[in-house]
Symmetry: C2
Subunit: 487 residues, 2 copies
């Protein structure tokens, strides 16, 4: 995309300036429609060092209301940030609906720099590109407008700019080592940029190459493109096509066929509990040292015994190295962002364990059945969730998912017991009874979920929990076995 | 507090174990009352290296529901964290009401380590202690229960433990350089700990020294203390006494005496605007390089012109180095924490500018007048806010506060204009009209606020905004003058 580019001479004139000024007003006028349409906008401004990325953003925001936008200057990840998968910090930064986020460089710059530095092998680079394509596609499908600009200048222009910046002590600090290296190895960088742009140019999130030779003209081009993309998105939002995935699915029994008569007597239970605790303690130590992050997701029927199960598992772990994350209804901050945002932001760092008490699977259970999302949304969520989990396991995370299973009669008994026990009454609400009425619809949804997301890299495990002791030991044993495999 | 300590021999027996087990159940039974009383609890577990802090926390949480507590292992601040005032990361971690946060080391460990390493001068150490006393007092006044434990062991015990840990490859990594250094310089560390404990021992947040020689006994002591503190807090919450502050207040005119006839004609305005922009741009560059963080808070009447004022000021700044933070009603996450939490967590890092569109002064205006907080709460807020701002300026931040002033008639005209202009109708709501009815009560509250918080280190500036152009230029000039003073 860059290789066949011809830089045109031509300097901006008064007419360009007038048009730019008018466009800024038009962009400002779009704020209210953006807000009303609840459109979240991400404007990714990438390009060569000294191409004028900062000035372009400055020019674009000039007439905007600061309450509607945010500018983020994205540097290379810090040591701390490297303790999470690559996409985590980018996912964490996405705006709420009705807001615009301007990024001064982003995942392009990070990826190409790492590639040129040889921090990424060819294979890692290919995987990275896949992650980025997935990320941009998921955002678009989730209603985000992604506007991608690349500011392009020639080697000569870049060299002149760097020299001019360096000559003035007020601006010399703006020139980084990377800019100089880029200029020296311009052709190699050009090739890397070109390859990246080609690989991530999609109809729903196309790249716009902007000639950065003349500041006003490039700002004008950027503003025109942004204006066009926003007005289009206000008319209709594209729905990207999901790749035809062949997930590495393992077969799994429907819930109706799960045998629930498994039992442990108290003596066995106490013995096993002690034994599992010791092993888990040792393994937790080891994964902490080896910096392996672990995600354990719990889902299950109301009153199936998730809480007690999590408690027993957690009691064997070093409290400095794990966290239990109860997932309730989304907060206003969460509901106005992509549905996976609140999980991306809660991922464990290297060496840590995150236990999710309910999880992203809410999308294909409660959100599906209560109509909190559209059919198209929950239907594509299986793939999106598989992609999400693949990102985690590709980054070296261990991902386990537990379904805590009981039958309908057992649930009824436990509900009644809760109602009749004063200390437990808070655990039972009218909503639990309402959910119970939809048991069959839930069971159907759960079977579909188990079948479509039981991937080899992030498998489901059924915990038969009519006897809670049995389920607790099985959970601990499962974690022990998985950790042994990876450590 | 540590110096006259006698370590008792005596090993734990079966009876101790039984009592510990029973206490854990009692702690679990307190969770529901804690939730109902909306009590936020912070359990700070400090002490010598290898004294058993992790095991103590492990023991305390054993029977707790993971949804109600969180364990945080607090290390030394990262490079990134050092870009904010010391208290920021600790304030950011405070729990919501009804939840318990266990801290495995915290601000004691950080402070004493830095002192022993000579990273803190005597003067800095004294200031640090004042910050910590303020922090703990503000939290307690805000309804937080602070439980502070110090696990004490002798030099010999510590040495034995370090050796035992080092001998086993599974645990050797747990021994840090700091532990060895501490053991070698035990007497010096003892003195530093002792001094810190004495300086921060307050009736509302007393230290409990726990003999860590025997694990079970120390865990029992810790559990007893925690149980006692929680049951006491459930009966009544102490209200700490504020120091008798003499703030360095500057006199300020009541709003009624502010002259609102100041004007700028269009020619002057355009000329000044251009001039100010250039200067601000240069100064922003400079503060970025010198890593000075800046906080600018905007308050003012509805329709006074805050938004436009902020926009003009912001348009002169490099978008990579500033952020506009609109402050609306608190979210559920915010309303269930200390009222300053949402401002502590939004502070700019070094070299960055944060412009708050409304601020922490909501406490003494809208929250006071709408009854969202008690009289005692808003009355002590003046001191708390002065303390907060002092923390910022002591840490090298520049803090400026703008009050955007108009008269009642001007507001009426602007409200009517908004109602009659389709693109502006969203800016005017029934609430604005309701607030307007309380103009006199607000004016009284604002005068009191200006008078009590116009400190030399974080002064108020009145922006006369009947002529918005005048107010915009005055804001820019004020920022320019303040930045010139400090750079």
């Amino acid at each position: 995309m860059l290789k066949d580019w011809t830089f045109k001479d031509g300097r901006s004139d008064g007419e360009d300036k007038r048009r730019l000024k008018a466009l800024r007003q038009e962009l400002a006028a779009l704020q209210q429609p953006i807000k009303e349409a609840k459109l979240p906008v991400i404007v990714l401004v990438e390009g060569w060092g000294a191409a004028g990325k900062g000035s372009a953003i400055h020019s674009l925001i000039r007439e905007l209301d600061p309450r509607f936008f945010k500018v983020l200057s994205v540097g290379m990840p810090t040591e701390e940030e490297r303790r999470w998968p690559f996409l985590k910090r980018h996912f964490a930064a996405i705006p709420q609906e009705g807001k615009i986020l301007f990024l001064d460089s982003g995942w392009l710059d990070e990826t190409v720099r790492e590639r040129l530095r040889r921090d990424l092998s060819d294979e890692e680079y290919d995987r990275r590109i896949e992650s980025i394509r997935m990320f941009e596609r998921q955002l678009t499908a989730g209603g985000y407008l992604l506007v991608k600009l690349f500011l392009h200048i020639s080697q000569k222009t870049q060299q002149e700019r760097i020299r001019r910046l360096e000559a003035d002590k007020d601006t010399a600090w703006r020139v980084g080592e990377n800019d100089r290296r880029q200029n020296k190895n311009y052709d190699k960088a050009l090739e890397a940029f070109d390859e990246y742009l080609t690989a991530t140019d999609e109809p729903w999130a196309p790249w716009k190459i902007v000639d950065g030779t003349d500041a006003v003209r490039s700002q004008l081009k950027a503003a025109q493109w942004l204006h066009e993309r926003i007005t289009t998105a206000l008319r209709f939002r594209p729905q990207p096509v999901l790749p035809a995935y062949q997930w590495p699915l393992e077969p799994i029994l429907p819930l109706a066929q799960v045998r629930l008569d498994k039992r442990l007597d108290d003596e066995q239970y106490q013995k096993e509990l002690k034994h599992c605790r010791q092993q888990l303690e040792r393994l937790h130590n080891e994964l902490y040292r080896k910096k392996v992050p672990v995600v354990i997701a719990y889902e299950g029927w109301d009153a199936a015994g998730k809480g007690g199960n999590i408690k027993r598992l957690a009691s064997a772990l070093d409290p400095r190295g794990y966290e239990v994350l109860p997932i309730a209804s989304p907060t206003p901050d969460e509901i106005t962002r992509h549905y996976l945002w609140r999980f991306w932001t809660r991922l464990p760092k290297t060496g840590h364990i995150a236990i999710f008490d309910r999880s992203w699977y809410g999308r294909v259970m409660v959100e599906r059945l209560e109509g909190f999302c559209s059919a198209a949304e929950w239907q594509r969520a299986y793939d999106e969730i598989n992609e999400f989990e693949k990102e985690l396991t590709d980054a070296g995370m261990v991902v386990l998912k537990f379904w805590v299973q009981i039958d309908k009669q057992t649930q009824l008994e436990r509900f009644r017991e809760r109602e009749n026990t004063p200390e437990k009454q808070w655990k039972i609400t009218a909503e639990d009874w309402r959910n119970r009425e939809k048991w069959d619809a839930y069971e159907e949804a759960i079977d579909e979920m188990l079948e479509k997301t039981n991937t080899r890299n992030a498998p489901w495990y059924i915990l038969e929990s009519v006897d809670k002791r049995y389920a607790r030991i099985k959970a601990m044993r499962t974690v022990i076995d998985r950790l042994r495999e990876v450590l």
